[in-house]
Structure formats: structure tokens, C-alpha cells
Amino acid sequence: MASIAAPTTAAYASGENENTGIWSWITTVDHKRIGTLYLWTALFFFLVGGFEAVLIRTQLMRPNMGFVSAETYNQLFTMHGTTMVFLAIMPLSAAFFNYLIPLQIGARDVAFPRLNAFSYWVYLLGGIFITLPILFKLAPNGGWFGYAPLTTNRFSPGPNIDFWVLGLQILGISSLAAAFNFITTIINMRAPGMSLMRMPMFTWMSFVVQFLVVLAFPPITIALFFLLMDRFFGTTFYAIAAGADPLLWQHLFWVFGHPEVYILILPAFGLVSEVLPTFSKKPLFGYNVMVYSGIMIGFLGFGVWAHHMFAVGMGAVADSIFSLMTMLIGIPTGVKIFNWIATMWSGEIRFTVPMKFAIALIALFTIGGISGVMHSSPPADLQQTDTYFVVAHFHYVLFGGSIRGIFAGISFYYPKMTGRHLDESLGNWHFWLNFIGMNLTFFPMHFSGLLGMSRRIYTYDAGQGWDLFNMMATWGTYLLVVATAIFVWNFVRSRTRGAIAGNDPWGGATLEWSIPSPPPEYNFAQIPEVTSRYPLWDLKAPEKTAGIDHSHADAMTITDAHAVPVHEETERHTAKELGIPMPYPTVKPLVVAFSMVVMFCGLLFLRNGMFAVAMTITIGGGAAMVAGLYSWLTAPLE
């Protein structure tokens, strides 16, 4: 992790004497450092997931290929899906939650800094736990939605699925802890005057996402717990001999699974909603509607889950209801698309790299959204489900949408995080190769799907009419490898060699651009008082915000907070100089996270009948966790 050491930028070089040793990263409770850790870790897992995709595509390049075995392939696609969803996109979003939310709402940190560190460590350890087995060819092989009864002992007797069950359980804890933290942060840590309807759109979408996490993870926790009990303790939740109904797993999984896909996309929507106005020199069009549609998408997201199950025979009534609910979601999503276009309308559009990614998101997500609506019609879906048409759909929304939004976000906020710009021309290469590669990879899948190619097959026979499409997809993937490599190079190199960026390199409207890049540990020397939705434009370009309401926070809260009007902070001090109390660094969250993971690991020994060993490790881990918690909770924060 040494490579994660703080960027040595101009600002850091300019006398700020921060502790940058590895220990400082292990004990950090600073939301920005934790955000950075999330970013690096999640990018690493993105590469791992991408590497798995490359192996998948190589195997599928031609019919009847023998590049990897069936068993390996099944592990690869399971881990590819699991890695991308749980270890790449969610934590990439979390990186932005961590880094940005406090800056955007004018706070010095999140509500519970140590809990935040805990979330990260649980994520890291959980990620390692679930990924490591692939090196031993023991990786989970039940697909990313792990349908029972295939995942029960009877049909998957090896330890593969154990890693999946325990790993997801661990990762769920990380997401839940983070969600409680951010809900509290957003409700309660906003600077004076920053009413809910003045929050930046990224913060808003993140806010919605936290509620989705809080409500969607419990069902999968329970579903996984049942599976865990079945696998380790012989319960009968999914045991077919006991009369279990395998649809129980499917329903519980998708009650989680569908909100999950909005967990994956809404942060990207939020990032794009920051980028588009900035480079159009215009405020976001229809802010209120954007907020409401985001809430609407989140809310409706809980009522559509069974559209993943149109082929299971739920009956005509249920199919119809879920179909209609699913179609409804197209409306608020469309509203977002149109508002983004309207945001650019009559603006001065600058085609910077982040802007290109944001525009491309609109173009590509729409394609994925339309194929989503095609799925939402159950009879039509009977020809599409479990084919490459679905694979095309979700890569357009995920890779075309989420990943693109995240790339937009990374190139947009890189200067804020490091104090230096990413290289523009490398960025352009990345963008174009990525754009072409993505369409070359995933567009042909629409055809192979509709022409009968089912998903999750490690091989297919010659002469089925799919050869060309698969060949295209594989070459597209190789282009993506080149594009990604350029990105990685740019990302790593620019930390030390990029052009120096000031506080506000893009002309942003929100608070994060009012402080130095990278921000000092305390973020805001003085808590700003916000009087409109675009505080920094109020300051720098008042003519832009003349048309909107301005008002001050009520007097009482201001005195409480010692708030001052928004201003640009140009000087850097240490927190000590300013007398700002900062949370103590502490290793305790890591200790608790580690003991928790140990506790889960113990269960693995049950598989070999080592009951005593398993119980010793599990109970030992649990006890260490409780002890750690006590010591954490009784130690002062700052």
C-alpha cells in the first residue's frame, strides 16, 4: 500500500508537514484519505474484473475454443460479475462519497470518521477474501446471483460457494456501515444555509443511494444467511428434499438485486450532473425535477424486482404488475436524460475529457435503457432473458453508464484530489479508444443474443451464426485493454507530472472548488455559510445566479457554527495552527474489521468437519471484535 502514499504535489510541497508514512494510512480517519484508499483499491479490483473479462472474451472469440476449461470459465464469469459489482463500481462510488460529500456540503469530515475507516477495511479484507481463491482455482462458480439450489451443498460441495457467501456477507457489512454514516453526514453535517434543496446533485443522488443500500442489503443479508446456514449447519431453506422453494432465493436476491443496479448508476448520474453544468457554463436544468426523479427512481426500484424472473412462471397477474412497474421507471430516467440535454442547450460547451465522458454516458446509457424497456415486456423477455441480449443491456448501463460516469468523475475531480491535472491528450486517447472499444464489444451482443446465444456458456458450437459477433466483441475488448492501460498510465503518471491545478480549475459552482487542491485535512478553515445552490458562482460570477432565490440561514445556527460567507480559501495551514480539533488517527477500526473477517473465516473449517477449530476461530474472532469495539467506542474521537 506504500504506493498510495500521499501525492507529492505542489501544495504538499509548499510546507505542509503531513504525516505520509504507511502507518498514517493504516490509522487514518480522514475522509479524503479513506476516499483515496477506496479509489486505488477499487481501481485495482476493476483491473482484476477487467482481466477476468479479457479471459472470458478470449475463450469466446471463436467457437469451440479451448483457452480455458469449463470450470475455470464458470469461476471467471462469476468472479467477473461479483468483482465488478461489489468490488469495483460500488467502492468506486464510495470513493466519491467519501471524498466529495463532506466537501460538497461544507463539512470537516463525515459524521463518524472511525466508522468510515472501518467500512474501508472491511471492504478491503472482504475483497481479498472473495478474490484470493481464484488463484487456487477455488473461486465461487455459481454466477453472480448464485441461484439456489445450485449453490447448496448438494450441488456445490466444494468450498467455492463458501467464499462467495461469506465474502458477500462481509462486503454487505461494509456497505451498510458506510450508508448509515453518509445518511447521518448528509442530514446533519451540512453547512449553514445548505438546505436539502441546495445540495449539489452528486450529494443528492448519493443520499438516495444510501437509502437504497440501507433497505436493499438486509434482504440479501438474510438470503445469504439462509444459504450459510444451509451450507454449514444443514438447515433446509433451499433443500429440495425438504420441499423448499428455490424461488425464495430468487425473490430475496432480486429484492436486493434491482435496487442494487440503481445503487450502481445513481452516483454516476450524480457525477455527470456536476460535470455537464460546469462545462456548459450553465446551472443544471430543472434541479428540482432532477432531485425528484432521482428519489422516484430509487423508490420505484423496490417494486420491480421480479422482472428478472419473467421466465420462472409467476403467473400472468404478477408478470403484468412487475412489467408495468418496470416500464414506469423509464419515465423518471428519461426526465434525467432530457434535463441533461437541456442543461447543455444554449450553453458554451467545452469538450474536456470529463465532459466527453459525461456526454457519452447520455448517449450510451440511453441505449441500455431502451433495451431495458424491451426486457420489461415479459413475452418479449422470454426470447431475451439469459441471452447475450441481456448481457448487452447491462453492459450498456453499467459500462456505458456507471463506469463512464465514474471516469467522468475521476477526470473531473483528479485535480481536486491531487492538485494536478490528468494529461489531456492521454485522456482523449483513453476516451476514444474506450468509446469505440465499448461499442465494438457490447453492441454485437444484442445480435448474438437475439440470434439465440445464451449467456454463461463457456463455449458454443460452430455454425450457429454467432461467430462474427463474438469475434467483434473480443476485439473490442482488446481495444478496451489498450484504453484502460492508457488510463492507468495517465492516472499514475499525472500524480507527479501533471500540470498544477488551482482551487478551481474548471469554474465549478460548489463548495469543493473553494478550497485548495488537494484540500487541507480540515477542509474548510471556516465553515462557509451558503445562501444559494451555487455558492461559488455567487462569489465569482454573481450574474449567473442572479435568477435564483438567495437566503441566509437563520441567525441561531450561524452563531452555533461560526459560519462565514462563502469565500475562496487560498492559504494552507495545519489544523493545529487553526485550532481545529481533528479526530485522532487510530488503528482500532482496522482491528475490529480484521477480527470480524477472522470470525467469518472460522466457518470455513466446518467444511472439513473441524468443528472445534472452526468454533475456536469464530468465537475468538468474535470476542476480539467485541473487545475491539469496546476499546474503540470508549476512546475519545478527537
Partner: protein, 229 residues
């Protein structure tokens, strides 16, 4: 939890007032968000129990008799009188919990002259915390008794769908009660070592919210699992 207050802040005279947007304490918002999440957790458990209700292939069953091939008779397994008693115990612990919170809030008020034992008792947070925790513990003993009795009567987690769902649902609840008892015991410990006062209202309040929520879940479980047939 009890955290912060014990070691931090108050005695070093330096109390920095953290501004919060709503004026509410962060921890209270977090606990309510947590409770919201728990609703979904128990909803999944309860839904599963109800989905599998009446689908077990072999007994014992909760409300009906079961005769296996060997002619062995299994009575309806649920013991309503015992569980009614334990339900009552948990309800009462909730009452004690509010009284504990109230005691923390009013402890510092001067006692009116000739105050009776009840007025005095109302100011004793230690008493009520102790009562709450021990009633929680009694509830757990009831549950332990119930579980062992069921196992003796031939119902384990492995027996049938009912066994799996029943033990998991009530076991999850029991685990929550256990955590609550630990939590309350910690509060009691703090109360005994340094005394809880009105400034600690929040940490007691948070524990109380959790405790009541666990109680509320039991109210639902009692009706849906035990009473409805």
C-alpha cells in the same frame, strides 16, 4: 454507544460545540436509520417464515399434530402459555427501559418533600437499567428453554422448513436481545462507575430506541408465529 462520554470531553473543561444542521445528535439519526434498515431485515425473515408456513413435508408442526410413518405422534409444538409469559416479560422490560430513560432525565431534579418510594424509585436509573437488562435476560432464558424443549420433542433446524425458519427468525431476534442486554449492562456499568446524568440522556435514549425496537419486533413475531394458525 456509551463511547465518547466516558472518557472524553467533560472533565478537561474543553467542550467544543459541534454544529449540526438539524441540531440533532448524529448518533440519534444513525440509530433511526439503523432501525429503518432492521425493518427490512426482519421483513425478510418474517416473509420467509410465512412463505414456508404449511409447506413442511414432515413434522413436528407448530399448530397441528403430526404422525410419522412409524406412528409416532408429535403434538403441536408451540407452547403458547410459556411464550405468552416471555412476551409479557419483554413488554415489561420495555416499560423499565422508558423509566430508566426518564430517571436519567429527572435525576437531578430535587426530590419534593415527603416523596414516596415511587418518586424516589423514579430517579434511580440503576434500578431500571438493571430491571430492563435482567428482564431481557429472563426472556433469553425462556427462549433457551423453548429451544431445548423443541429439540427434545424432535424439532431442530434441520428437521423441516418450519424448524429452519422458526429457529432462524426467533434466533435472529434472540441475538438482537443478547446484544441489547450487553449494551444495557455496559450502560449499567457506566452508571455504577461514574453515574449517568441528564447530559447522558442521549446515550440512554439510543439504547432505549434499540431496545424498544427489538420489543416491537417481538410483538409482531408473537402474533404472526405463535398466535396465527
Amino acid at each position: 454507544m456509551s463511547a465518547h462520554t466516558t472518557a472524553a470531553g467533560h472533565d478537561d473543561g474543553h467542550v467544543h460545540h459541534h454544529y449540526t444542521t438539524t441540531g440533532l445528535d448524529n448518533r440519534k439519526i444513525a440509530i433511526w436509520a439503523f432501525i429503518g434498515s432492521e425493518c427490512m431485515l426482519f421483513a425478510s425473515l418474517i416473509a420467509t417464515y410465512l412463505i414456508y408456513k404449511g409447506r413442511s413435508i414432515v413434522g413436528p408442526f407448530p399448530h397441528t399434530e403430526y404422525v410419522n410413518e412409524a406412528g409416532q405422534i408429535f403434538k403441536p409444538i408451540l407452547d403458547i402459555p410459556v411464550t405468552s409469559a416471555s412476551t409479557f416479560v419483554l413488554l415489561m422490560s420495555s416499560l423499565f427501559m422508558v423509566l430508566a430513560l426518564q430517571a436519567v432525565q429527572i435525576k437531578h431534579l430535587p426530590l419534593p418533600d415527603g416523596a414516596g418510594w415511587w418518586t424516589r424509585a423514579q430517579r434511580s436509573s440503576q434500578l431500571w437499567l438493571f430491571m430492563t437488562a435482567s428482564f431481557g435476560a429472563i426472556f433469553l432464558m425462556f427462549q433457551a428453554y423453548e429451544f431445548t424443549a423443541f429439540v427434545h420433542e424432535g424439532l431442530t433446524v434441520k428437521t423441516n422448513l418450519f424448524g429452519s425458519t422458526f429457529f432462524t427468525l426467533t434466533g435472529f431476534h434472540g441475538a438482537h436481545v443478547t446484544a441489547g442486554v450487553l449494551w444495557l449492562t455496559s450502560l449499567l456499568w457506566i452508571d455504577r462507575t461514574r453515574g449517568l446524568g441528564p447530559q447522558d440522556e442521549l446515550i440512554v435514549d439510543i439504547a432505549a430506541l434499540y431496545w424498544h425496537f427489538v420489543d416491537v419486533i417481538w410483538i409482531v413475531i408473537f402474533t404472526l408465529v405463535y398466535l396465527i394458525q
